[in-house]
């Protein structure tokens, strides 16, 4: 039996009167790559953001690495250092160089020395293919490069799991490949990953499991070939038809 890295039980989240998550249960094992797909407003990003408590759940339990994040007595800041997060809008610190983006939290949160932090940062820049851009400012980079720096920044904290919130949705089409390539290598190295994405090809090839969400619940899940290739649920079929063949979706 493999180790459970992320355990979500009965997760509910409401914004005011609107319930966005209506009871989600999920267990993700070490090394598993799970892709979450679904229409906009289905709650998939909220699910991801609840896993590191960027959104405070209304109900349910989140356990990551054996630590219950939903316990009010948990040191959430310490727990978050184990959970890397990559944002749709990159969210690089615009006033810091690429290198400083990678070292600031290592030094101020993990208490690493400057030398150690920089060495870890350079290793991770190497990993995403941007070792030569360490001194650049974020605004000088393309979107694809910024997102790879975003991934490297999260990896520099040596996280146990990585969360990706539509990491390629804000990119020009020709830049998507570089970012997905980095994510694919990360998956091959055995990182536990929860990825909200619209990249069906990536989900099909890299994911161990695909979750289809709609209306705040997981409608269908399983092997990517089954969920994407031969969906059982009507809602999944409708969504995939719209995504995979948008020009004929209205017919």
């Amino acid at each position: 039996m493999s180790e459970i890295k992320i355990e979500i039980t009965g997760l509910r989240k409401s914004f005011g009167q609107v319930e966005v998550l209506s009871g989600v249960d999920q267990r993700i094992e070490a090394g598993e790559v799970v892709c979450v797909i679904g229409p906009s407003g289905s709650g998939k990003s909220t699910l991801l953001r609840c896993v590191n408590l960027l959104e405070q759940p209304t109900g349910g339990r989140i356990v990551v690495d054996g630590i219950e994040l939903t316990d009010p007595d948990t040191d959430i800041d310490a727990a978050r250092t184990r959970i890397g997060m990559v944002f749709q809008q990159f969210n690089l610190f615009t006033h810091l160089s690429v290198l400083d983006n990678l070292t600031v939290a290592q030094r101020k949160v993990l208490g690493r020395s400057r030398d150690e932090a920089e060495s870890v940062a350079r290793q991770n820049l190497e990993r995403v293919g941007l070792a030569d851009r360490a001194t650049a400012m974020p605004a000088q980079l393309s979107g694809g490069q910024q997102q790879r720096v975003g991934i490297a920044r999260a990896l520099a904290m040596n996280p146990d799991v990585m969360l990706f919130d539509e990491p390629t949705s804000a990119l020009d089409p020709e830049l998507v490949g570089d970012v997905l390539g980095v994510m694919r290598r990360l998956a091959d190295e055995g990182m536990t990953m929860l990825v909200v994405t619209h990249e069906m090809q990536f989900a099909r090839e890299v994911a161990d499991r695909v979750l289809f969400m709609d209306g705040g619940v997981i409608v269908e899940q399983g092997d990517p070939a089954e969920v994407i290739g031969a969906p059982k649920q009507e809602r999944t079929r409708g969504f995939l038809a719209r995504v995979l063949d948008p020009t004929h979706a209205g017919e």
Binding site: R80, F93, T94, H95, L110, P138, Q140
Partner: protein, 279 residues
Amino acid sequence: MAEATRPAKGGMSKRQRAKVGRGVQYVILLAVVVVGAVLADWNKIGEYFFNVEVARALFPSVITTALLNTVVYTALGFAFGLGVALLLALMRLSSVGPYRWISGAYIEFFRGLPALLVFLSVGFGIPTAFEGFNLNRNLTIMLSLGIVGSAYMAETIRAGIKAVPGGQLEAARSLGMSHARATTTVVIPQAFRIILPPLTNELILLTKDSSLAFVLGATLAKQELTQFGRSALTSYESMTPILVVGLCYLVITIPLSVLQQRLERRFGPGGKGGQGSGA
């Protein structure tokens, strides 16, 4: 259809009319300058405003005493005011109700008072209210200018903090930074880059407000530019000191503007070290 784009009445196109309009403006401006120059008594102006001997007599003390005092008073007031303003801005953005109320009341109160009243209150009110508690002159000016400046700067800083995209705070929190740590290392540095222009504005305003120190009275060695100019005006019976002192203010404020533009180019939106969209 074609008629509508053709020259209308008078045979002039829109562009031609604009050209004529601008020509008229230049003529009026020139006329005002000429009339002013003809009516002015240039001999008197020369004698009163540009009296070289009077100007020479003002040096070097106008620089070594008056200009220096103005710079010192402004720097003290700005430093104190900026610190208080940052605290007020954070309090106003706090989730703790009483912090927000106190900060809001402070800002509304001191923003609405003339700076002169603040100087009088601090300078004469505090020693009266707390007997035996005498503030020295520098401290009084620092408090007065700081209080005046902080009420304005607090709102500027608050606007700057709110202008930093929420994703920056989220990214910092997701890396394990506490809210306070994320605010100090990520949000505030970016906020200050955004508010560099209005903050420079505040500094220039405070430079001029430092002239209000005259209400506290001063020995010659403690006079700042305006008071120095007024004393000289009386003793030389010439307007020249006012002109010299005025130029001294510009000697302070213009370099500040240049510095601001430099910093803005370096750090501001779109700058090398600032925010901006990806290439």
